[in-house]
């Protein structure tokens, strides 16, 4: 077993002038400071099947059956 990787970080001086920000959105983060770790996921689904060209029809129900109608 090799020795573990050693990472030594020295944080230098940080001086920021002006931040002009339009938006922070969808589980994203803007951090002015220190942190241990940042893990951000984004699942974004816009496939071709997302475009439906039909007359009035309900969206699928949780069971997956498209013909399930409310009694």
């Amino acid at each position: 077993m090799s020795s573990p990787l050693s990472l030594h970080v020295t944080n230098g001086p940080v001086s920021v002038g002006c931040i002009n920000l339009v938006g922070v959105s969808s589980s994203s983060a803007l951090l002015l400071g220190d942190t241990e770790s940042i893990t951000l996921y984004s699942y974004f689904d816009t496939p071709a099947e997302s475009m439906i060209v039909t007359p009035m029809a309900p969206l699928p129900l949780p069971g997956g059956g498209e013909e399930q109608n409310e009694p």
Partner: protein, 140 residues
């Protein structure tokens, strides 16, 4: 991990809008977990007959979340000889949808957002032949 938290000096802060579980946090914090789910439906003709919007009907909302892990063990050490972060003015138009704007130090930050887009053209004839412009009902 030895982490000596630094302090942040902020000259001015302007945030126009904080909405949809957005967070503006001034100061230190611990773990931050953010989650957001959205079913974005655009319909040509609105249908408010009954509740037909179920997250469970789309796999994107229940697919397992892959967690990245370090390939090798890392012995991490950091030091901050300069104890202050200096920031001028911050102008933010919006903070929304389970997002965080923090001035200060924090623990691990994790955020998950899952968005499903649906465009439903229910004003068109259901013929796959022709372009959408050709299938459009121009009578109304």
């Amino acid at each position: 991990m030895n982490r000596d938290p630094r302090s942040t000096t902020l000259l001015s802060l302007y945030v126009n809008t904080v909405s949809s579980s957005g967070i503006v946090h001034l100061g230190d914090g611990q773990d931050t977990n953010m989650a957001s789910r959205a079913l974005a439906v655009q319909r040509a003709i609105a249908n408010f007959q009954d509740d037909e919007f179920f997250f469970e009907a789309y796999p994107i909302f229940y697919l397992p979340q892959l967690v990245p892990e370090a390939e090798v063990p890392v012995r991490f050490r950091s030091e901050s000889p300069w104890p202050t972060l200096q920031v001028g003015c911050v102008y933010a138009l919006g903070v929304s949808s389970s997002s965080t704007f923090r001035v200060g130090c924090s623990g691990p930050v994790q955020g998950v957002t899952r968005i499903k887009h649906i465009r439903h053209f229910n004003n068109l004839v259901a013929s796959p032949v022709g372009t959408s412009a050709e299938n459009r009902d121009y009578s109304s």
